[in-house]
Amino acid sequence: MDNFKELSTIWQSNLPQENGIKVSDLRSSGIIDKLKKLEKKHFRINLIKTIAVGVLTLFLTYNILSLPNVSILTKSALGWIILSLMAGMFFYWRMQYNSSQFNFLDNSLAFIESTIIKLNSQKQIITRLMPVMVISLIIGMNAIYLDLLQEENFTIRISMHLFMTSFLLLAMYLGLKVRKRRFNNDFKPIIDELDLIKQNFKNDE
């Protein structure tokens, strides 16, 4: 089989048309409708998340403001925690969204390069966002403890602060570990594969 044209003919004769999907099937089986639904689904999910955050923020703010016999310090600390969590969630979703928008219309080399960058940015969610959120939470919680434990003796106050801070740091450590494992399972293999393809693409240059 020296003639490559012959191979090309064989290849192109290999048509999965007759028993495969027919254009008429696109409508009759509702494929188009399903495609539309799938497209709307992602939009709906983001909309629901945004509304949920908005409602939660309003609900919590109202409840904090209407708390009886609570000092300004506690109210401010609660407000700080809520704001930090909301901001954290906003940035998390934005980072997730940006890193999942792949430009399939680029040529392969450009696509591979931008995709590797986007997939690697998933790491930033782990290494940057989570620590910032936990530190904000630690500051807020310590401020609340400072206010609530005024009546307690020094040892109890220090122990409570230390316990709560270590608990949050431990939670962060475990969270980082889980996220790292997920990154290694879900994204690392694709990044490695794309890296390999990129290197091979450039090999014959």
Binding site: S8, S13, P16, L38, L105, N107, S108, L109, L194, N200
Partner: protein, 177 residues
């Protein structure tokens, strides 16, 4: 007309794209993967990405180049283990898979065995080589392959020559047992 493509126009363009390119795209998928279920999943992923990006088609490149770019990039990103969208498209029946496809015999068609050997040999190539050779087998010009892959014209030429010689050598080996 609004900036956003009308739904009916989108459907029409998609249907048109589908009818003109389904065979080519399916062959590209079957060059990239060997397992029938995975080929069908990849084909489905390509079609979903075509649908999602159809409004971005500006006519700056040929529509076939545009579709091939989506198909090739989707193949590179394809994760066999990932949970797939529900079967959106009808499954190709097993008989329609290239390895099982039996064209009506008129005397001029290549044997089913040859198609099988060709597929098996392509499957031994590296991922990016599978894609490039399937584009060559579809009869695409070097310029088109360059536009799809982002490789320079000279690089496309060097690669194709190398892949062709490997493919032919391996096919000979398979044929000679």
């Amino acid at each position: 007309m609004s900036l956003k493509m009308k739904v009916s126009e989108k459907e029409k363009l998609f249907t048109d794209l589908f009818s003109k390119n389904k065979g080519k795209i399916y062959r590209l998928c079957s060059a990239y993967l060997i397992d029938k279920t995975e080929v069908n999943d990849l084909f489905q992923e390509v079609m979903i990405n075509v649908w999602n990006n159809i409004e971005k088609f500006r006519g700056e490149s040929q529509i076939s180049t545009w579709v091939y770019r989506i198909a090739v990039n989707t193949a590179f990103m394809f994760n066999k283990k990932a949970k797939k969208n529900k079967e959106l498209f009808l499954r190709f029946s097993p008989d329609s898979h290239p390895l099982n496809n039996k064209p009506e015999e008129t005397g001029n068609e290549p044997s089913n065995e040859m198609i099988k050997i060709l597929h098996q040999t392509i499957n031994t190539l590296a991922n990016q080589d599978k894609i490039i050779i399937s584009l060559v087998l579809e009869g695409l010009k070097y310029e088109e392959i360059g536009a799809i892959t982002g490789l320079t014209l000279s690089n496309v030429g060097v690669k194709i020559n190398r892949i062709k010689s490997v493919l032919l050598k391996r096919m000979k080996e398979v044929q000679n047992g």
